[in-house]
């Protein structure tokens, strides 16, 4: 425990290496209380919670550990090291892009390259089946989730508005005031004002002021560098490597990087996991443990279990895959607005969550967006096949562009699922194939949102407006619920088929929600830890 007090005086990014040099280590042959697989939004909060309760916990993370200030350049190409780049096959009518689009790796998981929007889910997001007769309800209510959402916001440092026009009331206001509105946000505000659409500064997991993470240390405010998706180099973004992971290490958790889990050891009756098998630097290791918490993300979680023929008596593993309809609308403005500056998603509108007389069910939100140059041009050419002089002329306008994007709920469909292909990846394991096609409701929602976003951009004075359609986030492949025949995990996150396997990441969402997922994943992670700890005592 030696460094906990010393460390609290340090500014975190520079203190991170200290955590590692003093980190507790556990021998492989000693049975630890729990192994956590993955250190992103789902793995990290729970790792800290279990460690704080005095448990011996080891996290196994496939990706490397980074030291942001030394390792992160303000450059998209070299930061591709944050992407999960083991090949996935994208099938269906609306095949999804991965790599730079949908998932990350490293100590911190996808939160290393997430954009940091952290809106709360709505009460009715958890009850879509009751309301519309389609999709699924969550097995518990918003009221049960709220204290956890609040706890996460207070601990990691979320900057957000003091009053918010939409959603349920809050038990506590955001710990920090909202971040500045960048140009995209100002344009969106102007367009929405003229159309009578309400807006608010958005909640972001990035610091508007210097902030102390309780029990960990101080972090500096955001310097508006705008490269959040390529990794924050000063620790202002509240990724798990700046929040729950150092807290876990202070409480004697061990985090092993470059550790790729491939198999599990089981008791004779195959009802209990007794150890986890992983590869590190070409060697195979086995860690004995009393419980396993799987948080490898919406694709790697079902893939790992499918590869091992585990936890699938329901036949539902890999099914119910969902992605948020995430169309973006871009336009050029007269002034050089530098779309790479400032927190990318500074303004939000949730007026189209359950809009009266809407031609779609459920709902979506709108956010202003900044963008990095390579991400922007890549979308432009994939979407519009622009090349030659036209492309170069378009890109000379890049410093003048600004965008808005929608993010909407998605119904599960039997067409959309993750399966194992017969092709092997660079590690010799079967590649996942991901089938995805937007359903009718998602298409109606995207059409509605596109019209609104174009109207807002016209009012704001944009020219050369264009749309890029995409799906975002990887959700729902190990559904949580009461029924063991249609779900993979029970309402506490425990796999129905095993006594001591918990799944705790984006894969257990019964419905996609009409908001970005990371905040809810972190809240669920703490809730699962509490259920587990409750059962132990």
């Amino acid at each position: 425990m030696k460094n906990a007090i010393e460390l609290s005086h340090d500014i975190l990014p520079h203190a991170v290496p200290n955590y590692w040099s003093t980190m507790q280590t556990y021998p492989l042959h000693e049975e630890v209380d729990a192994v956590v697989i993955g250190t992103g939004a789902g793995g990290a909060p729970l790792l800290a919670r279990l460690a704080q309760a005095g448990m011996k916990v080891v996290a196994l993370e496939a990706g490397p550990r980074f030291s942001p200030f030394d390792d992160f350049a303000t450059d998209e190409k070299s930061q591709a090291k944050l992407f999960w780049r083991h090949e996935r096959l994208s099938a269906g009518q609306d095949p999804l892009a991965f790599g730079n689009n949908n998932s990350g790796t490293g100590v911190g998981g996808s939160t290393l390259h997430f954009t940091a929007y952290v809106p709360r889910p709505h009460e009715n997001d958890l009850k879509v089946k009751t309301e519309f007769g389609r999709g699924e309800d969550w097995p518990f209510s918003y009221a049960e989730l709220e204290p956890y959402l609040s706890e996460v916001e207070q601990f990691i440092g979320v900057s957000g508005p003091s009053s918010y026009p939409w959603g349920a009331s809050r038990s506590k206001s955001y710990p920090l005031p909202p971040l500045d509105l960048n140009r995209a946000a100002q344009y969106m505000q102007k367009g929405c004002d003229r159309l009578g659409i309400r807006t608010s500064p958005a909640a972001n997991a990035a610091l508007s002021k210097d902030f102390t993470v309780k029990g960990v240390g101080q972090r500096p405010a955001c310097n508006r560098r705008g490269f959040c998706q390529a990794g924050c180099n000063n620790g202002a973004k509240s990724s798990t490597d700046m929040t729950y992971l150092p807290l876990a290490v202070v409480h004697r958790a061990e985090i092993r990087d470059h550790s790729y889990v491939t198999e599990f050891e089981l008791s004779k009756d195959k009802r209990t996991m007794t150890g986890v098998v992983y590869k590190r630097g070409g060697k195979t290791y086995r860690q004995k443990c009393r419980a396993v918490f799987l948080a490898a993300g919406g694709i790697e979680t079902p893939r790992l279990l499918l590869l091992n023929s585990l936890a699938n008596s329901s036949g539902q593993l890999g099914r119910n895959f969902m992605a948020h309809p995430g169309s973006e609308v871009w336009g050029e403005f007269p002034d050089k607005d530098e779309p790479w500056r400032g927190i990318p998603g500074a303004l939000i509108s949730e007026d189209f969550h359950r809009a009266p007389k809407a031609e779609y069910e459920t709902g979506y939100l709108l956010q202003s967006i900044g963008v990095m140059p390579v991400t922007y041009v890549s979308q432009k050419v994939r979407g519009e096949k622009l090349w030659g002089e036209k492309l170069k002329a378009h890109m000379r306008q890049y410093p003048f562009v600004a965008g808005i994007n929608m993010l909407g709920d998605c119904y599960p469909s039997s067409e959309n699922f993750v399966e194992l292909s017969d092709e092997l990846d660079d590690r010799g394991l079967r590649k996942p194939r991901v089938h995805f096609t937007f359903g009718e409701n998602e298409k109606r929602m995207m059409d509605h949102a596109e019209k609104k976003m174009r109207a807002i951009w016209e009012e704001a004075g944009a020219r050369n407006i264009w749309t890029f359609k995409r799906g975002a986030h990887i959700i729902g492949t190990a559904r949580m619920g009461h029924d063991a025949d249609s779900c993979v995990v029970d309402p506490s996150g425990k796999a129905f088929d095993l006594e001591n396997l918990y799944i705790c990441d984006n894969s257990i969402f019964p419905s996609a929600l009409s908001v970005n997922p990371a905040l809810t994943i972190m809240a669920l992670s703490l809730r699962t830890a509490d259920h587990y700890l409750g059962r132990q005592s």
């Binding site: 994208s90 892009a97 310097n223 390579v374 994939r382 194939r433």
Partner: protein, 178 residues
């Protein structure tokens, strides 16, 4: 303001290396020196490499750059030489290296069919016609996705280059801030 014909030294000045964090400076400096002189291709054959370079010149003309070039064909070959790629692939496409090799061969065959010449021997207007043809082709089924990959790969490499970014007035990499 027209940045089209700025020289390398003018662009370097615009980059303000002294106002970058050490890591950013090191990465971007290395990229400017990368592929100079051009390395021998490791994955593509000399012929495939020549076609790739000629197609890149049509997709992203660089003749307005007085004294600098981004070597897009070398970047492609380097990408293909790595065991880890971009993390996903359209299911309809063959594995990446195979796709590029077959796709570049299709480009050359198209040139032969239309003009009875190899793609590299065509003039600019003929090359442009062949590229337009490939863009619209529907046979084999994956060729439109091949075109998307080829284009996106070149474009990402081109616009990741600090000189290109400086030439369009993007100064995102100047990252020391108060």
């Amino acid at each position: 303001m027209d940045n089209r014909s700025l020289s390398k030294s003018a662009l370097l000045e615009r980059l303000q290396f002294d106002k970058m964090t050490p890591r950013t400076r090191a990465v971007l400096f290395a990229r400017i020196e990368e592929n100079n002189p051009a390395p021998q291709p490791k994955v593509l054959t000399a012929q495939e490499f020549a076609i790739a370079r000629a197609v890149a010149d049509v997709l992203i003309p660089q003749n307005d750059q007085p004294d600098w070039r981004v070597d897009l064909a070398s970047d492609l070959d380097l990408r293909l030489s790595k065991t880890i790629g971009k993390g996903w692939r359209y299911d309809v496409l063959p594995p990446e290296t195979e796709m590029y090799k077959s796709g570049l061969r299709i480009v050359d065959e198209m040139a032969q069919t239309k003009f009875q010449k190899s793609f590299c021997d065509l003039n600019l207007s003929e090359k442009t016609q062949v590229v337009e043809h490939i863009e619209k082709a529907r046979e084999p089924v994956w060729v439109s996705k091949f075109f998307e990959e080829l284009l996106a790969g070149f474009v990402e490499a081109y616009y990741a280059h600090p000189l290109t970014q400086a030439s369009i007035g993007c100064t995102s990499m100047v990252d020391i801030r108060k």
